[in-house]
C-alpha cells in the first residue's frame, strides 16, 4: 500500500470538527441525571431547587407525616424536567432517596440505592444487543452525598455507603447546612473528612487538574482544594446592602448562597454544570459503565480470546483428560492380572505340596512293606 500523501501547511478544515460537534450537541441536547443521598432534613430538596433556580421538587408536606406508616424502607424518587438555556436543552432527572438513614436501625439502607444504580447499568448492557437500541438512559452521572455538619468526622453509615457508591457512580461528597459551622471549624472538618476518605480508600470524583488553559487549571486546583464542598441553599431572596441576593436571613446577619466566603455553592454549581458536566457524563459511560460491564460479562464465563485459540485450549484440555483416564485404566488392568497370577501361583504351590505329601506317604508305605518283607524273609531263613 502506498504511504498516504502528507499534507503540508494547507488547512483542510479538520479544525472545524469541534464546531460541528458543538452544533450537533446543541441540537441534540443532553440527558443529565443527578442523585442526592443523605438523611432527611439536610437540605437536599432546597439544594436541588437552588441549583436549577426552579422548583424542581416539592418539599415534604409536614401535615402528611402522621398519615403514612413508617415502613422503614428507602425509596427511589425520580423527578424529570426539561431545562432550556440559550437554545440548549437538557433533559434533567433528579433522583432522591427519601428514608435513607432516618431510622433507628439503618442496616442495609443503602441496598435499594445500589440496586438502582446497578439496574441502570444492566439496562443499558441488555440493550446493547437488542435491535432497537434507543432507550431511556437513567444512569446516574453524579451522586451528591450529603454529610451532616457535625463538625466531628464521618459517621460509620457515611463511610459504608460511600464505599458502596464510589465504585458504581461519580461520588461527590457535600457538607450540608454549612451555615452551622464557623470558618475555622469548617477547615478542620474538611481536613478530617478528607483524611477519612483516603484512609478508607473511597474514590470520590476528582476532576482532572491540568488543562491547556491557565485559567482552567487554576479553577480546577481551587475546586480540588475545596472538596468536600460546603453548601448553603436557599430559594429566598434577601436584601443585602441594597442588593438582592439569595440567602438565609438570620437575626444576626445574612448567610449568602453565592458568596464564596460563606460557602462553596458556586464552585459546586460550576463543577456540576458549567465546567465538568460533560466530564461527569462521559466518565459515567467510559469508566463506571465499563467496570460494570466487565464484571458482569466475566462472571457469566465469557473471555476475550479469539475462537480458534479457545477451541485449541479446550481440545488440549480434553486430550489431557483422556490420557489420564487411559493411564488409570491401564494400571487397573495390570493390577487385576497380577492378582490373577498370584492366585494361580498359590494354587500351583498348594498342588505341589499336596502331591509331595502323597509321594511321601507312598514312600513310607513302601518302606514299611519292604521292612515287613525283610522280616518275613529273615524269619523263613531260620
Amino acid at each position: 500500500m502506498a504511504p498516504p500523501a502528507t499534507s503540508g501547511p494547507v488547512s483542510v478544515g479538520i479544525a472545524n470538527l469541534p464546531n460541528q460537534r458543538h452544533k450537533i450537541v446543541s441540537r441534540k441536547g443532553a440527558s443529565y441525571n443527578i442523585m442526592v443521598v443523605g438523611e432527611s432534613g439536610l437540605g437536599k430538596t432546597t439544594f436541588i431547587n437552588t441549583l436549577f433556580t426552579a422548583l424542581m421538587r416539592d418539599y415534604k408536606r409536614p401535615e402528611q407525616r402522621f398519615a403514612k406508616q413508617l415502613d422503614r424502607t428507602v425509596q427511589i424518587d425520580v423527578v424529570r424536567a426539561d431545562i432550556e438555556e440559550k437554545g440548549f436543552n437538557v433533559r434533567l432527572s433528579v433522583i432522591d432517596t427519601p428514608g435513607f438513614g432516618d431510622y433507628a436501625n439503618n442496616t442495609d439502607c443503602w441496598v435499594p440505592i445500589v440496586q438502582f444504580l446497578d439496574e441502570q447499568h444492566q439496562h443499558i448492557l441488555n440493550h446493547e444487543t437488542v435491535p432497537n437500541r434507543k432507550t431511556d438512559d437513567l444512569r446516574v452521572h453524579a451522586c451528591l452525598y450529603f454529610i451532616q455538619p457535625t463538625g466531628h468526622t464521618l459517621k460509620p453509615l457515611d463511610i459504608e455507603v460511600m464505599k458502596q457508591l464510589c465504585t458504581r457512580v461519580n461520588l461527590i461528597p457535600v457538607i450540608a447546612k454549612a451555615d452551622t459551622i464557623t470558618p475555622a471549624d469548617m477547615l478542620a472538618f474538611k481536613d478530617r473528612i478528607r483524611d477519612c476518605i483516603s484512609t478508607h480508600n473511597i474514590q470520590v470524583f476528582t476532576p482532572a487538574v491540568h488543562s491547556e488553559d491557565e485559567d482552567a487549571t487554576r479553577r480546577n486546583t481551587s475546586i480540588l482544594a475545596a472538596m468536600p464542598f460546603s453548601v448553603i441553599a436557599s430559594e429566598n431572596d434577601v436584601q443585602v446592602n441594597g442588593q438582592t441576593v439569595r440567602g438565609r436571613q438570620y437575626l444576626w446577619g445574612v448567610a449568602e448562597v453565592e458568596n464564596e466566603a460563606h460557602c462553596d455553592f458556586k464552585k459546586l454549581r460550576n463543577l456540576l454544570i458549567r465546567t465538568h458536566m460533560h466530564d461527569l457524563i462521559t466518565s459515567t459511560h467510559e469508566h463506571h459503565y465499563e467496570t460494570h460491564r466487565v464484571a458482569k460479562l466475566t462472571a457469566s464465563g465469557r473471555s476475550d480470546d479469539d475462537p480458534a485459540l479457545q477451541a485449541r485450549r479446550g481440545f488440549e484440555a480434553k486430550m489431557k483428560e483422556e490420557e489420564a483416564e487411559l493411564r488409570k485404566k491401564f494400571t487397573e488392568q495390570v493390577r487385576l492380572e497380577e492378582n490373577r497370577f498370584r492366585q494361580w501361583e498359590q494354587k500351583l504351590i498348594s498342588e505341589r505340596d499336596r502331591l509331595n505329601e502323597d509321594l511321601d506317604k507312598q514312600h513310607s508305605l513302601v518302606k514299611q512293606l519292604e521292612e515287613e518283607l525283610e522280616e518275613i524273609i529273615a524269619a523263613r531263613k531260620r
Binding site: P156, I159, D179, R248, G253, H262
Partner: protein
C-alpha cells in the same frame, strides 16, 4: 412505707442542703454533633467535657459503644452552692444500628434507682452515699427543620416513663426565626400525637400563685428549647460575650432573642430544680418501690 420514707428523706435533704449545697444530676442525650458537649461546657462555664479526639480516621468506621461517664462540677448559683453532676452520652446515635443504645441508657437510669433502693433497705446506711439518680434528661434534637425522627420518638417515649425528659434543639443557629418557630410547633405536635411523656412545667391551678402559673406557661410555650453553645468569648463593645463568629454575623449565646439558652439555664439550675428533683423522688421512685 412510702410516705414515712419520703418525710425522712425531705428532712435529711434540707439538712444536707444547708451543709453541702444542692445536689443535682443532669443527663444529656442526643446524636453526636448536636452540640451536647459544648452545651455542657457552656452551662458550667468551664471546659468540663474535653474535646473528643476525632483525628483517627480508622476509628470513624468502627462500632461505638455508649460511654456513660458522670462528671461533677461545683457551681455557685446566686450564693447557693450547687454540686452538679453531668452525664454525657458520647456515641449515642452514631452507629448504623442504634437500637442497642436505648437499653444501655435505660439500664443506667434504672441502676441508679436500684442503688438507692438498696441503700434505703440497709440496716446500716452509708452516710457518704452519693445519690446519682438522674433528675432531668435533656434530649437533643437535630435541627433538621422537618419533624421528630423515629429514633427521637422511640427514645423519648421509652425514657419519659422513667425520668423527666426535656426536649432541646441543638445548634439552633442553623435555622432562621420562622423556620425555628415552625419546627418547634411541629415537634410539639409530634409529642402530643405520639403521646410522649415530657416535663412540661406542670402547675396546680388552685395551689400555685399567678406568677408561678404565668412563668410555667411561658416556659411551656418555649418548648422545645433552642440552644446554641460556645466556649469562645469575644469582646464586643466593651463587654465579654460568649458567641459564635460567622462571616455574616455574630451569634450570642446569652441573648434571649438568639436562643433560649439563658432561660433554660435559669430554669434548670434555679427556678425548677427542686420541682424536677421532687418529681424524680416522688413519682419515679414510687413507681420503683411499688414494683
Amino acid at each position: 412505707m412510702a410516705s414515712s420514707g419520703a418525710s425522712f428523706k425531705s428532712g435529711g435533704a434540707r439538712r444536707k442542703a444547708t451543709k453541702k449545697g444542692l445536689v443535682f444530676t443532669v443527663m444529656i442525650v442526643g446524636a453526636s454533633g448536636c452540640g451536647k458537649s459544648t452545651f455542657i461546657n457552656t452551662l458550667c462555664e468551664n471546659p468540663v467535657i474535653l474535646r473528643k479526639d476525632h483525628a483517627d480516621a480508622e476509628k470513624a468506621a468502627q462500632l461505638k459503644t455508649i460511654g456513660l461517664a458522670p462528671t461533677t462540677v461545683e457551681l455557685d448559683e446566686d450564693g447557693l452552692k450547687l454540686s452538679l453532676t453531668v452525664v454525657d452520652t458520647p456515641g449515642f446515635g452514631d452507629n448504623i444500628n442504634n437500637e442497642p443504645a436505648f437499653e444501655d441508657i435505660l439500664g443506667y437510669i434504672e441502676h441508679q434507682y436500684e442503688e438507692i433502693l438498696a441503700q434505703e433497705s440497709r440496716i446500716k446506711r452509708n452516710p457518704r452515699f452519693q445519690d446519682n439518680r438522674v433528675h432531668v434528661l435533656l434530649y437533643f434534637i437535630q435541627p433538621s427543620g422537618h419533624s421528630l425522627r423515629e429514633m427521637d420518638i422511640e427514645f423519648m417515649r421509652l425514657l419519659g416513663a422513667r425520668v423527666n425528659v426535656i426536649p432541646v434543639i441543638g445548634k439552633a443557629d442553623s435555622m432562621t426565626p420562622q423556620e425555628l418557630n415552625a419546627f418547634k410547633k411541629r415537634i410539639m405536635e409530634d409529642i402530643s400525637h405520639y403521646k410522649i411523656p415530657i416535663y412540661d412545667f406542670p402547675y396546680d391551678e388552685e395551689e400555685d400563685d399567678e406568677e408561678t402559673i404565668e412563668e410555667n406557661n411561658e416556659l411551656r410555650s418555649l418548648l422545645p428549647f433552642s440552644v446554641i453553645g460556645s466556649e469562645d468569648e469575644v469582646v464586643i463593645s466593651g463587654r465579654r460575650v460568649r458567641c459564635r463568629q460567622y462571616p455574616w454575623g455574630v451569634v450570642e449565646v446569652d441573648n434571649s432573642k438568639h436562643c433560649d439558652f439563658s432561660k433554660l439555664r435559669y430554669m434548670l439550675l434555679s427556678s425548677h430544680l427542686h420541682d424536677l428533683k421532687d418529681i424524680t423522688h416522688d413519682v419515679f421512685d414510687d413507681d420503683d418501690e411499688q414494683d
